[in-house]
Each structure stands twice: as structure tokens, then as C-alpha cells.
Symmetry: C2
Subunit: 137 residues, 2 copies
Amino acid sequence: VEPRVSFITLGVTDLTRATRFYTEVLGLPLLPSSAEQVSFFAMGDLRLALYPRPLLAADAGMSDTSLQSVGPPAFSLSHNVDSIAAVDALLSHVDQHAEEFGCRRTRAGATADWGGYTGYFADPDGFLWEVAWNPNG
Amino acid sequence: VEPRVSFITLGVTDLTRATRFYTEVLGLPLLPSSAEQVSFFAMGDLRLALYPRPLLAADAGMSDTSLQSVGPPAFSLSHNVDSIAAVDALLSHVDQHAEEFGCRRTRAGATADWGGYTGYFADPDGFLWEVAWNPNG
């Protein structure tokens, strides 16, 4: 395996809501290659795809039920920002949209044992994002 | 949000088994920054981290129970290879280690509607990887 990830696909329950969250709340530009059943975003060299969960399940050879979880999936995506203030600002920004989108800050910003400053939010489907400031750049 | 993902962290139930799968079965080089409680791999500009699920839950401000799922998490990571044969070879390779690691091919290689050739496997914790050949490179 050549070490490369080309796509991260999140299986979402409401594609419209999830797409609005990533564009309107997080401000990510939707790629023109997006279609009715899939939303694409560029994250550097990586592509983030939002895809209805039943379609992801079918594509992966799984039943939608087997892909259903009782809680948030046990993984996180990390996003680095350039200051402690930016960590707090993004977490607050997401939390302000909790009512409309079902997103929320799950852990407020705090100093990490490795010297950085991090916090977490959950997107409308419960997918966890760590927001991190790294003193080493 | 500047569009960048710096880390993908998978919350695993058995760090030793998961680390052995990614090094021995997938052949990824373990980074020297890895420690007793975390394994790091470079995937291009991205870092893949394997981290015990209870520690990820605590870091994210969640209970481990809430992070527990009844099935595989509803997301997939995609890995591009350079031929149809390479898709089939990697899926077979993973499937041959099913007994030892609990990994398995979940969907055999097949032509996708966009013209590529893809299949899926689940890692020892059920995390889904799509293996894809893209005719457009």
C-alpha cells in the first residue's frame, strides 16, 4: 500500500443538511463535481465527500443497518488553525448553530499534554472534528 | 475554516492488533513519533493515527459508551492504486489475513458507474477502506 488517502467519505443521514453545514457554517467551497447525491469538498490534496449513508452502505457491500451506529463513529478528523483564539472562535461558531444544524461543541478548548491547544465539535451526523493549534506550526 | 485535514484518528479496541494490521498487512511504515498509546503513519501530507477508543472518547469529551457503535462507522477512507489488478490483489491480500486480524473484504472489485474499478475491505475494527483504480489517473 502506497501511503496515500485520496478521499474521506462521510455517510450522512440528510445530505442537504450536511452540505449546508459544511458550506454555510464551516465555509468550505462546494466543488463543481458535486451532484444531486454527493457533495465534494477539497481539503488540500484530499477530497471530503458527503454521501447518503444507505448509498455508502450499498457501495461497501454492507447493509445500511450494519452501518448504523448507536453513537458517533469512533474516529475524528483534525483541523489545524493558527492560534488559540482561532480554536475557541471556531468551536463557538459551531455551537451557535447547534439549534439549526444539530452540531455542537463536545469539548471546549484546553491545553494538550503535547503543548498544543485543542477542542472538539460534532457535525450534524455526530462526526467528530478536533480543532487544534500546534505551537510547532 | 481553511480547507485542510491534518489528522485522521481511528479509535481502536486493540492498539497492538490494529498497529500490526497497518504495518504487517498493509505495509505502512510506523512513524518514530509513535508511542505506547498511539501509532502514527504518514499518508502523504496527512497523518493517520491509531488511538485506543476510550482515550479518543475522553479527549473528545464523550463517554466511551457513546462512541461505541453497533456496527462499522458510517464512513470510508479511499486509497487509489494504479491498476485493476492492484485493486484485486490488495483485497485478496487483506482477505487472506481475515482469520488472524479479523479484517475482511466486504465487497469484491467491480466497475463503478464513473468508469473506475473499486472494492472495499474492513480493517480489524470494522473501519472501511475503499480501494480504487481511477482511469483518469
